[in-house]
Symmetry: C3
Subunit: 299 residues, 3 copies
């Protein structure tokens, strides 16, 4: 949290890019994104249309929108900014990369890193979920590609999910398939979406659901052709905007606050758990072998 706040402070000193006529769009200035990444482009593009009150966040971190510390920090900063902007009532998450919404947590953040760095990373993962699941905005995932693990978490933390009707795209919490375990707040979010029994199967089997399977169990709310995903989200948002914000926000909070509070109450323990697990020799070795395999596959 301290880290994110420090970054937020740094960010607000450097200022944002210029406002457009109706709304604004921004990319993080280099001073923020450069200190960790040589890429000069930001990982998330945000466009707010002040006519509609809808912000679109496009993930543009090639190749697969992995949730790196830089990505997550940008995400938290963008969320903070949008929450404070009275002209913004709704947020749509979508991907600018082909075939993938987000591939989930960046495995490079878990390999050969110091415990301090792992801890900072995990705090940023928590922060992403806390801000998104508890957002006062109407949040929608326009899922225009596959969405495993952390990508699935982002999607199910929104208020509504529209997915491209493409049998090659899948979504799910597939952690067990990789020998790791989704933390309890991933599980809680999944349970609140598809219920206890389906979550039991989903987590034990690490099942990746095809788009039509996902619709059937309620993991996503609607399937549309790929080129209609974003526009359908926009139209659906208009319907949600007919509800007075204040009443909707209290209703949402009533549903979601209990499980957010659960994480807030055990946040440090959850970080400790993650760090002690991920820094184990055996786990580091497994990840190393997995990365070797990936390299060979590419070659």
């Amino acid at each position: 949290m301290a880290t994110v706040l420090r970054r937020l402070a740094r960010f607000s000193q450097t200022g944002l890019s210029a406002h457009r006529k109706n709304g604004w769009s921004f990319a993080l200035p280099h001073s923020v994104s450069n200190h960790r990444n040589s890429s000069t482009s930001s990982k998330i593009k945000v466009d707010l249309d002040s006519n509609t009150g809808i912000a679109v966040m496009r993930f543009q971190s090639p190749p697969v929108n992995s949730l790196s510390l830089d990505f997550l920090t940008e995400f938290a900063i963008s969320m903070e900014k949008l929450e404070l902007d009275k002209g913004c009532r709704g947020l749509i998450l979508t991907s600018a990369q082909p075939k993938v919404f987000s591939a989930g947590l960046d495995i490079m953040e878990m390999y050969g890193k110091s415990p301090e760095r792992c801890s900072e990373f995990w705090r940023a993962v928590q922060e992403m979920w806390i801000r998104l699941y508890g957002s006062s905005m109407v949040t929608m995932a326009a899922i225009n590609g596959s969405s495993p693990a952390g990508g699935c978490l982002m999607a199910i933390s929104c208020d509504y999910r529209i997915m491209a009707d493409n049998p090659r795209y899948s979504i799910g919490l597939n952690e067990t398939k990789l020998g790791i375990v989704a933390p309890f707040w991933f599980k809680d979010t999944m349970m609140n979406t598809v219920g206890n029994r389906e979550t039991e199967l989903a987590l034990q089997l690490g099942h990746l659901y095809s788009s039509s399977e996902a619709l059937k169990i309620g993991l996503v709310d609607r399937l549309v052709p790929e080129d209609k995903v974003l526009s359908t989200a926009m139209e659906t948002m208009a319907n949600w905007f007919t509800i007075p914000d204040h009443a909707r926000q209290i209703s949402k909070s009533m549903m979601r606050k209990p499980i957010i509070d659960k994480l807030l109450a055990s946040r440090e323990a959850d970080i400790k758990n993650f760090v002690s697990f991920i820094t184990k020799d055996s786990i580091q070795k497994s990840i190393g072998m997995y990365l070797e395999m990936l390299k060979k596959r590419k070659a």
Copy 2:
């Protein structure tokens, strides 16, 4: 509670109307209903058939069976009487008004009233739910008309719901649409009926479900032609009566007691919340404007 008990005491002093041959029916005597309302007729008609053990409660408070303090007090008194009557094993709620089961809480009880009166009203709303959701009788809603907000709460507090198969009738907790928020025990009852995810959508959007949508999500259990709603409830009740009462009651209590206890533990705070919200100038102004609009619509 104290108020309801005082009213119950007053009620039992004045006595009830005569018993019929097989069972009884009653209407509240004037001394009870008159002190608040000039209407000489009672708002709820209760008929108990001691041959079948089934009581039918007909809501007859024109035009839309609004849940006023008088209505709720009559309801609590009737429930108390039926619970104590060993000849009564089941209760069917239905409407004697055309096209509506109940329109929910009476908005006039929330406009221009003293905090004391608002507090008394809210306690009566709580009391209705506590008695109905925790009833030892088999309770069924014969939903022969629309059933928004508090009307929906009454329906989902029963053990079983049979609704008229009429696409013009709708049911749901639509509070957010009016800029207000369903309290946590409305939410808990809804969650226990349709699950977490559907409740999240239902409450955030204040969605009114058509009868067929309601069946699909499990908000009602069965659709039948309008003229069969009551008779189907009677037939279904006969099936429930094959189960020994005592075992069924303990099973029911095991399922429902936890969320009733939640309200009992925070009943006064819940009343305070309601009163402080509803007596706000801004809210009173909104209600006033809403009532003006209704008047104009009629004219």
Copy 3:
């Protein structure tokens, strides 16, 4: 617990039957099963195939695999043994009796028995559930016959349920129909399987679901022809085995531990409840009449 442990101790002193080439199978030696039952055969046959890592437990306690104290003790011993066997990753429960998976708790254990014996019996019922619901193995019920009450509990305590597609076989917690009540942990297990609303109906009505109804509400996961039940379980198990055990086990525990802990925290109170209920004169009289009726039916 103490009793089960004593029995386990006795059991391990007497030793097990010989191992087969690839895996083993055992039947409890007489010294264990005889002291309560004159039958020389064991009530459960266990076969572990160490090639596949799958153990099959066949219930062979005629006529209907009632859960007697002896049966439950054998079950606990077998579970203990399999959990400790590193060659065993999965367990399939099925019946060697025609037309029935298990008829549930043995009513003879509840009739004319001392409070001490009733207490020992109930502890063994709890132990069965704690071991099965919390098993680290992949557990599957190959339901090749009817499965009421305690039989249903065993099935829903597994990770996956495959049932014979036979309309004459039924499954459900039908306790209320007999005038008794499923304890809270039966209820919790049911809720985790089919959700709150269906459990409310199921428990209040003591409903026995046909196989196709059971599939529809998610009480079982799959229907296959009767002669394919076991082989389908084997094939399904192979799919579950592709998931690393450790990650799957932690995920399972995350889902199930909370309700197991609830029973562990109130185990003695739960036993007291059962004993004081079952030893009541009125209940003993009811059971006696029920047994008389059964006798007459046979004659």
